[in-house]
């Protein structure tokens, strides 16, 4: 992944690629490629997005606002925000810890850990949800104990948070591992030799070096946490006003033929996606600005 900086570097290389005779393609190839990708983009990405807002506002502003301020909708929004507010910080901590462990230490089972981090990406979200039902459900491993102690996990908020945590785990860790591996241990060692303790080293040396990657991971993690459907759907139980998140609420409204209301809530999710993209672009821009060595602008030839 390590996307924050790599994407940006592409523009320079493209210019060079095109200016050289050896790699320059005929004009029709260039325009055909651009045409294909642009029409695909318009048809499959832009059109649905426009459709969402169009459908949402079809019955006018009042209906739109009414759909959003409906108590069930508000409850769904609140639950989604709650789940994200718990899952994202936890995954931030887990992700940094896992990336730190993998990048800075050598231990047995490291490769297994790297593989396991990817598990939520490779397993279907429905399966992830079912795992939690199996473990915490009424007939699951801990079911009896949980009932005896009057703790509800499945069909309640804790289950939704757990499922969200599971599916969003890889984002932060995956973003940080290659970044931290590339940076090596030199700066940390230097800090320790200079007398910094572990926390100071992390706060003053490690964190500033990974901040853009970290932010990037958090933004993606947040987007997925708010948009997750499958895993959450399995553990939620769809209790209106209690265990419905926004995506689940959209589905219920849609199934009840309340299209305008469904699209109104969906438009909020779409807006979230757009905001995420804007933040992501801004991060990429900042990271690239930090990364470009300003050597060219400051020729300090003298060395003695």
């Amino acid at each position: 992944m390590a996307g924050a900086t790599t994407l940006h570097a592409g523009t320079d290389r493209a210019a060079r690629f095109e200016s050289r005779a050896a790699t320059r393609e005929p004009g029709w190839v260039k325009w055909a490629l651009i045409g294909v990708s642009l029409s695909f983009f318009a048809l499959f990405l832009l059109l649905p997005l426009v459709a969402v807002f169009h459908e949402a506002l079809k019955k006018g502003w009042d209906a739109y606002l009414a759909a959003l301020t409906n108590p069930d909708a508000l409850s769904a929004i609140k639950l989604t925000l709650t789940a994200a507010a718990i899952a994202v910080p936890l995954n931030l901590v887990f992700g940094v810890a896992a990336a730190w462990a993998i990048a800075k230490f050598d231990f047995r089972g490291k490769h297994l850990l790297i593989t396991l981090i990817d598990l939520p990406f490779s397993v279907s979200p429905v399966v992830a949800g079912l795992i939690y039902v199996l473990v915490f459900g009424a007939h699951g491993w801990f079911g009896e104990w949980l009932i005896d102690n009057d703790i509800k996990v499945i069909f309640a908020v804790p289950g939704i948070v757990l499922a969200t945590l599971f599916v969003t785990f890889p984002f932060v860790a995956r973003e940080l591992i290659p970044l931290m591996q590339a940076q090596g241990r030199d700066e940390e060692e230097a800090a320790i030799v200079l007398g910094a303790n572990g926390w100071q080293t992390f706060w003053h040396v490690t964190l500033p070096n990974i901040k853009w990657g970290l932010l990037y991971g958090v933004v993606l993690c947040n987007a997925r946490a708010m948009g997750e459907f499958g895993a959450v759907s399995v553990v939620s139980g769809h209790i209106r006003g209690e265990t419905n998140t926004m995506p689940l609420h959209v589905e219920i409204l849609y199934n009840e033929y309340q299209f305008a209301a469904a699209f109104a809530v969906a438009s909020l999710l779409a807006l979230l996606a757009l905001v995420t993209l804007v933040i992501k672009t801004w991060i990429e821009h900042r990271a690239a600005a930090d990364d470009v060595p300003p050597q060219e602008s400051a020729p300090l030839a003298s060395t003695t």
Binding site: E187, E189, A190, I192, L194, A196, N197, N209, L300
Partner: protein, 365 residues
């Protein structure tokens, strides 16, 4: 502060990086750990710093066993080969880092820190770069900032890991001289690791020559260079000519030729390696002579004060190459020509019994 390492052993998997190394580093001296890559010199330095732990053995700092002390307790300054400057901090903040990280009770005020940082930047002659970021500096400047940063916490010892390894030849040479001057000013006990024999000989008070996790020889640069105690030492320090042969009384038999030697402790018939530096070989153009070994001049390189003559071995030493250094006047006087058959007579010959376990050290240029 004095440093002593006792029987340090370190193994990475099946690779023995350090095999019972014991060394003394007296107070105020600048010592070079010299050796080819993989000889264990950097590992030893990192063990002294506490960045690596030895499998067995002790590190003694100022008479006290520091083997189990943490890096921070050891109060060492460490300069990394690739600078390891904090990229996101200015030069000033880099140098101030160690002072700012001190516990509140020991931490100087910001004003004192600023004074000290500027004093150090003056010392490395880079005060004018205080507000720049490391990415805006040249390699040589970065390494000097790294040195200022290491000195800021007033370390008891200064450890430098191939400090000039990543720099180009010209800058390296300047920084070498500069480091020596700095050491003469500060007199901090310093150890620096290098694989460059010229650098070690030129800068250090004492050179420790290492190979395969062993200390081959330790001593003053002059002594180590003039009197290498092992075949490895001979071939690693400077250019050298190597003769494979067998002892026959007062001579070393090399193929059909014989070289006289003055070692009395060599057994008759023993396989030996004989070494002579390029300036310790004389060229005899008299074809009737039977002294020394036969060789043919392949190339004469005379662009310096001295001329270098490259020769191919003839007779018994076929396939070997030799190198002789002599003045240009001498080349003209004896009328040396490329392709000419000559004989080489060593004015000084160092003979070692052929080592058995390791492959014979080839002469290094």
């Amino acid at each position: 502060m004095s440093i002593r390492v006792d029987n340090i052993r370190k193994q990475f998997g099946s690779f023995v990086a350090l095999d019972n190394v014991s060394l003394d580093f007296p107070t105020g001296e600048l010592t070079a750990l010299l050796g080819p890559s993989g000889c264990g010199k950097t590992t030893l330095l990192r063990i002294i710093a506490g960045l690596e732990t030895a499998d067995s053995g002790r590190v003694v700092l100022e008479g006290e066993d520091a083997s189990s002390a943490s890096v921070r307790e050891r109060q060492v300054g460490f300069v990394f080969q690739h600078y390891a400057l904090f990229k996101h901090m200015t030069v000033f903040d880099n140098v101030a880092f160690g002072l700012r990280m001190k516990p509140r009770a020991e931490r100087p005020s910001e004003q004192q820190i600023a004074e000290k940082v500027h004093r150090l930047l003056d010392l490395v002659q880079l005060d004018w770069l205080a507000d720049r970021f490391p990415s805006q500096l040249s390699g040589g400047q970065r390494q000097r900032i790294a040195l200022a940063r290491a000195l800021a916490v007033e370390p008891r010892v200064l450890l430098l890991d191939e400090p000039f390894g990543a720099l180009d030849a010209k800058v390296r040479k300047e920084l070498r001289r500069w480091l020596r001057r700095l050491h003469d000013e500060l007199h901090v006990t310093s150890i620096f690791v290098t694989h460059d024999q010229e650098e070690a000989l030129e800068v250090a008070d004492r050179v420790v020559l290492m190979n395969h996790g062993h200390v081959e020889q330790a001593g003053a640069p002059e002594e180590v260079y003039r009197h290498p105690s092992t075949p490895f030492g001979y071939s690693f320090l400077g250019a050298v000519n190597l003769f494979h042969g067998r002892v026959e009384g007062g001579a070393v038999r090399v193929g059909e030729d014989a070289l006289p030697h003055d070692h009395s402790d060599l057994e008759h018939g023993a396989e030996v390696l004989a070494f002579a530096r390029p300036h310790e070989l004389d060229i005899i153009t008299d074809t009737g002579s039977t002294e020394g070994v036969a060789a043919r001049v392949s190339r004469i390189l005379s662009f310096g004060v001295t001329a270098r003559v490259e020769l191919d071995g003839a007779n018994g030493a076929t396939g070997r190459h030799f190198e002789v250094e002599l003045t240009r006047a001498e080349v003209t006087r004896i009328g040396l020509q490329e392709g000419q058959s000559v004989r080489l007579v060593p004015s000084r010959l160092k003979v070692f019994p052929k080592p058995e376990e390791r492959p014979a050290a080839e002469p290094r240029r």
